[in-house]
């Protein structure tokens, strides 16, 4: 049979072995070695020549169809498990989980505090929060000292949750400074970490355009805009940064846009260089402040 020069030169690689120059070499019989070989394989599809399981048998890689499927199942499962573990090992995944837990804690603490204050007001009929400027994190210890019965342990529980929350917030900021130093320098560790969690990973964040970053976390408003033409959102999560929520209404959108554009660059430096770039941060901050004034 005539063969094109290319089919002679190209080695066809499959999970069970490879065929080059008409010679077939089975993959290592040891699973560990076979896995290592498999993990490194890449086959462009335009050059993919389908192999049948009979080829693997003819090659001496497996005995029959059942053995073919059994070994493939074993190797593919282990490879997938390794890849899952690799995907979860990167520090940005942990950071995203931390900040989600932090937001969950906030929600729980607020909910429980509201309930506990309501409860306390039945124990102390004169109690009211009208005209009181006391934030609830100071209110709870006060109430804990005066509450009676089963309300006491609940208030103590809220306090310990609040302590845990404060510790976690410090951890988030510290981790964000390490994982995404440039983004954190622009908007602070907490907001940077929330953006990361909303995008899913540092990889996904670094691929977002500035316009996407600007409205990250404003999904409802964004889709309402796309579907029914309501005004587009000016900002999503980055509203939590003081230079956005502190800006005068008239320039808030401009500030958000300028900040988001710099954040997009910062996220890419974080992802692909992984170290602080002081001159970039200085220039970016200067540009944002310039919009503000």
């Amino acid at each position: 049979m005539l063969r094109g020069p290319r089919s002679v030169r190209v080695t066809r690689r499959y999970w069970w072995g490879e065929i080059g120059n008409g010679v077939c070499t089975p993959a290592p019989a040891d699973d560990g070695a076979a896995l290592e070989r498999l993990a490194a394989l890449e086959t462009p599809v335009d050059r993919w020549v389908p192999a049948r399981w009979e080829d693997a048998v003819a090659c001496g890689a497996v005995a029959d169809r059942a053995a073919y499927l059994a070994r493939l199942h074993r190797l593919a499962s282990r490879l997938a498990a390794i890849r899952v573990a690799e995907a979860f090992r990167s520090p940005d995944i942990e950071l995203a989980q931390m900040v989600r837990a932090l937001d969950g804690l906030d929600e729980a603490i607020n909910l429980l505090t509201e309930r506990a204050v309501e409860w306390y007001s039945t124990q102390d009929p004169g109690f009211t929060r009208k005209f009181s400027t006391l934030p609830s994190r100071k209110l709870v210890p006060l109430l804990a000292a005066r509450a009676k019965g089963p309300l006491r342990p609940l208030l103590a529980e809220i306090q310990s949750l609040a302590e845990g929350r404060a510790a976690l917030a410090r951890d988030v900021t510290r981790a964000a400074d390490r994982v995404m130093p440039n983004s954190s320098a622009l908007v602070g560790g907490l907001v940077a970490a929330r953006l990361l969690a909303a995008a899913g990973s540092l990889d996904a964040l670094a691929r977002l355009p500035g316009s996407g970053l600007q409205v990250l976390g404003a999904r409802t408003a964004l889709f309402s805009h796309i579907r029914s033409g309501t005004p587009p959102p000016k900002h999503g999560l980055i509203f939590q940064h003081r230079r956005v929520h502190g800006a005068p209404m008239a320039v808030r959108g401009r500030v958000a846009r300028a900040l988001a554009a710099r954040l997009a660059i910062a996220a890419r430096i974080d992802r692909y260089r992984g170290e602080t770039d002081p001159s970039f941060i200085e220039a970016a901050n200067a540009r944002i402040d310039e919009v503000l004034t």
Binding site: P50, A51, S77, A80, R83
Partner: protein
């Protein structure tokens, strides 16, 4: 496919995701699975036993587990690590599921694991779904079937389903498929179009 008193079922060990059992068979709920919805809506649709299947967008293995009850082997491709953990647990009890953590956009990541298949099922939330089906066409035997669960809202917001669907079908035709039918999956799934096609030579 196997029906018991008007209920679609599949033969296999239960308890994969809390599905109900009926007469020793696993109930395949059209509200949870687009493929089951298609079987309910299209009287001509059949999933023959003993097929070799490539399933793109395997997710947690809910539908994949049912397909595996019928098929000889299912090559289950999923990109996200979190659902892959669940899929791996499903594959542990179903040796004919081959789990693959890879991007369906990049078949070069998993081509060497595959053999030619008779059925390609695609259910991925991506903007270029027709292109993905075309890119994975080499894995289908000539005349092999494609079931594309087109997620219309992953392609474009705010345009009618028919328009987006027509564009996708045109892209499939150009890419070497012969489109046979398409139908929305209402009332079971909103904004989904089930496209059936075969690989042209």
């Amino acid at each position: 496919m196997i029906w018991r008193d008007g209920t679609l079922v599949s033969p296999g060990q239960g308890g994969v995701y809390g599905e109900r059992m009926r007469g020793g068979y696993r109930v395949w709920d059209p509200r949870r699975s687009k493929l089951a919805a298609l079987a309910h809506l299209d009287p001509a649709f059949d999933l023959e036993a003993g097929l070799r299947v490539l399933y793109l967008g395997a997710a947690n293995g809910t539908t994949v587990s049912h397909v595996a009850d019928y098929a000889e082997v299912v090559y289950a491709v999923e990109f996200a690590p979190r659902p892959m953990q669940d899929l791996l647990a499903v594959a542990r009890r179903r040796p004919n599921i081959i789990p693959i953590l890879a991007d369906a956009n990049r078949p070069e990541q998993y081509a060497h694991l595959l053999e030619p298949v008779e059925l390609l099922v695609q259910d991925v939330a991506q903007p270029h779904q027709a292109a993905i089906a075309v890119r994975n066409r080499p894995f289908l035997v000539p005349g092999g079937r494609l079931i594309l669960m087109l997620k219309v809202r992953s392609i474009e917001q705010g345009r009618p389903l028919e328009e987006v669907g027509a564009e996708a079908m045109a892209a499939l035709e150009v890419g070497g498929y012969a489109v046979e039918s398409s139908r929305p999956l209402l009332p079971y799934h909103r904004d989904h179009l089930a496209i059936l096609a075969t690989r042209r030579n």
